[in-house]
């Protein structure tokens, strides 16, 4: 008498340890679990430290939380766009240019040309869409690796920003003031209560839209499919090129919106921000959030938590009086370690 050979499901069950609680099983497959654990651990340590030794580390104070609640959303909103694009298998390092140029256009058309605010916002949106389409065209239609293509548009956008912001007298780029109506400023970056500012609401809105798009809409399936295995996606009828075009536009739009939030808060736009390494920070946030650099894996919550993690690290360095450049070194280390971890996790998942 022979026993039937085990089916593949049984084999898989044999290889795995005893079936875990459904919640644990869910957490194991959820793509933002790692970052959630790391984030909560860091938060616990930092909050605990600042509660025990409030003189040493002024982290858990209302003033500091107010700063964080204004800074985290800006990075996180840009990270959501870059993350969706990265899941679709592409990459954008031109976002610092978009982040600066879009609010710049809004400020110029509103302030200098005297357009109505909705019209100026529309102009900004169109510019963002144009940048996204340009990136999409170069990457998708010309077939150039997105890293190099967006490097090209990064230089291009930087040139455009300096071109439109140049002061003919000094021949240097100038900061541009942006004073929108009070109601607009309050809606975008006003104080809600205590240390919570309106940016947090906007982050919630963008994250919700991103979640619905990525996990509850056909487009999200297409994004994961395109990034996971492009030829398989095309074979089952996914319009992979259109998906990538749309992802580039989403990325440019979120970067532009993040720039607008920043500009309304500080009431000016600094052309030098194109050189600040913002794109590096956002990419670090996204890969730290568990999004695969090769596409096909990632979750909105991971991107948001990754951005929050980086902003908290940045904030800690400021509170500890560390030199500002140290943050960039930490960013570099976070990128390498996060990508190694993601690659290892993905390899284990495939097994």
């Amino acid at each position: 008498m022979t026993t039937a050979p085990p089916t593949s499901a049984e084999l898989a069950a044999m290889r795995r340890p005893a079936a875990a609680h459904p919640l644990v099983a869910w957490a194991r497959t959820y793509q933002a679990t790692n970052i959630a654990v790391i984030f909560l651990a860091l938060l616990a340590i930092v909050v605990g430290w600042s509660l025990i030794a409030p003189d040493q580390l002024r982290f858990a104070t209302a003033g500091n939380f107010a700063i964080l609640s204004q800074q985290i959303p800006v990075t996180a909103i840009a990270a959501i766009g870059v993350g969706i694009l990265m899941i679709s298998g592409e990459f954008d390092i031109s976002i610092a240019g978009t982040f600066t140029l879009v609010p710049f256009i809004i400020a110029i058309t509103y302030g200098t040309f005297g357009w109505a605010l909705p019209l100026a916002l529309l102009a900004g949106l169109l510019v963002a869409i144009a940048i996204g389409m340009l990136n999409g065209f170069v990457v998708v239609s010309l077939g150039i690796p997105s890293f190099i293509a967006t490097l090209g548009t990064m230089f291009l956008l930087r040139g455009v920003v300096r071109f439109v912001s140049i002061n003919p007298k000094t021949n240097q780029p100038d900061n541009i003031a942006f004073f929108p109506p009070e109601a607009f400023k309050a809606a975008l970056s006003g104080n809600l209560f205590g240390p919570v500012y309106a940016q947090v609401i906007w982050l919630g809105v963008v994250a919700l839209i991103g979640y619905l798009l990525l996990n509850r809409h056909r487009y999200g399936n297409h994004v994961f499919a395109t990034g996971g295995n492009r030829s398989a996606a095309i074979a089952v009828g996914v319009p992979a090129n259109t998906v990538k075009y749309v992802a580039f536009v989403i990325c440019a739009a979120t970067a532009g919106f993040a720039g607008l939030l920043q500009a309304t808060r500080i009431n000016q736009i600094e052309p030098s921000y194109t050189l600040s390494g913002f794109e590096l920070k956002v990419i670090a946030a996204v890969v730290a959030g568990g999004v695969s650099l090769f596409g096909g894996r990632g979750a909105i919550l991971g991107m948001v938590l990754g951005a929050a993690l980086l902003e908290i690290v940045d904030n800690l360095l400021v509170l500890l009086n560390a030199p500002a450049t140290l943050f960039q070194g930490i960013l570099g280390a976070i990128i390498i370690v996060a990508v190694i971890l993601n690659t290892v996790v993905a390899r284990r998942g495939r097994r």
């Binding site: 150039i144 190099i148 090209g152 956008l157 455009v160 300096r162 140290l326 990128i335 990508v339």
Partner: protein, 347 residues
């Protein structure tokens, strides 16, 4: 019978002659067009001709042909050019290095530190610089190749780690005055007649790179590893070791370029030199190197560096704002990749 054979013979002969003629007619342009450095050579010659003609017609407004400008140009080309040689070797073997921007700063800074502050002998200081550069290259290679991570991500991270850790170790923003013996300075950055020594060094290093790439078995390995890593493996090439060597060489070239810069300025700083790595990649792409590896030439890198500095020079001479260089580089990188792709498809 005989007549038929002779007619056949004459027919084949004439068609052979015809084919040979056509082949000879096509050969020069085909070779130029299909050579990796063909487009950049045409661009360089056109740009140079335009500059010379305009400079000769209006010498007052466009002082291109003046001694000062030409010597400035020849001094500027090696700056990015030497870095680009290393980046190009690595790109041909199929990988990227963005951390050269920090090696360019950190390795010569270590040399100046060892020589001026620690009081070591100059040769020892130079060896220290090369060891640091080689170590960074080795780290890049080990992380990239062992974990299978895209090299631009590894080296992007490394760029920022190295850039910030160096000032951190020596105590933040500092500059060290570096005063080597006059002979050393004369050999490295003096001038031979009207030609700056750096330029001759650049040509010499390019020649070494050429010998390595086209006249040494390692060059074949670089091309093979970049062109088709699997095929290279089947041919018995150790792709891992080849790429590791390319990473180290790339860093060493960046250190050499940095040593030239520090010797010329007599000053070593920890402040980052922005975007050298990106300009080096841009030079390679303009010079006809394939982004995917396996295709390129040293002459292309040299001409790419020359084109970039020519454009920079034109922008300065015509008093245009500096952002035109940014725009030019952005457009040229994308256009260069598109042209390289088209040429590759035609093959």
């Amino acid at each position: 019978m005989t007549s038929a054979t002779s007619r056949e013979n004459s027919l084949t002969e004439s068609s052979h002659a015809h084919a040979a003629k056509r082949y000879r007619q096509a050969t020069f342009w085909t070779r130029v067009r299909l050579h990796p450095a063909g487009p950049v050579a045409i661009m360089f010659l056109g740009l140079l001709a335009a500059c010379v003609i305009v400079g000769a017609i209006i010498p007052d407004k466009f002082v291109f042909l003046s001694q000062a400008n030409l010597s400035l140009l020849l001094r500027a080309i090696p700056g990015y050019g030497v870095v680009a040689l290393g980046v190009g070797l690595l790109m041909i073997s199929g990988e990227f290095d963005l951390s050269v921007g920090s090696v360019f700063v950190v390795a010569p800074f270590a040399m100046a530190y060892a020589y001026a502050e620690a009081g070591l002998a100059l040769p020892v200081a130079i060896i220290i610089a090369f060891l640091i550069a080689g170590g960074i290259g080795l780290a890049n290679g080990l992380i990239t190749l062992n974990f299978g991570i895209p090299s631009f991500i590894t080296t992007l991270g490394m760029l920022f780690i190295v850039r910030t850790s160096a000032p951190f170790i020596v105590g933040y923003t500092r500059s060290i005055s570096f005063k080597p013996p006059p002979l050393f300075r004369e050999i490295l950055v003096g001038s031979v007649g009207p030609i700056p020594a750096q330029f001759l060094w650049f040509l010499g290093l390019a020649f070494v790179a050429y010998l390595l790439l086209n006249r040494h078995f390692l060059g074949n390995h670089f091309f093979a590893a970049g062109g088709n890593a699997n095929a290279a493996r089947f041919a018995g090439i150790n792709v891992y070791r080849t790429k590791l060597l390319a990473f180290v060489l790339c860093s060493v070239f960046a250190a050499i370029s940095g040593i030239f810069a520090v010797t010329r300025l007599n000053l070593a700083q920890t402040a980052p030199q922005f975007f050298i790595e990106l300009f080096a990649v841009a030079i390679c792409v303009i010079g006809g190197l394939s982004l995917f590896g396996g295709r390129g030439s040293v002459i292309g890198i040299v001409l790419g560096a020359a084109v970039l500095q020519l454009v920079q020079d034109v922008i300065i001479l015509s008093r245009l704002p500096g952002f035109y260089l940014d725009m030019f580089v952005g457009v040229m990188v994308v256009a260069g990749v598109v042209i390289n792709q088209m040429v590759r498809r035609k093959y």
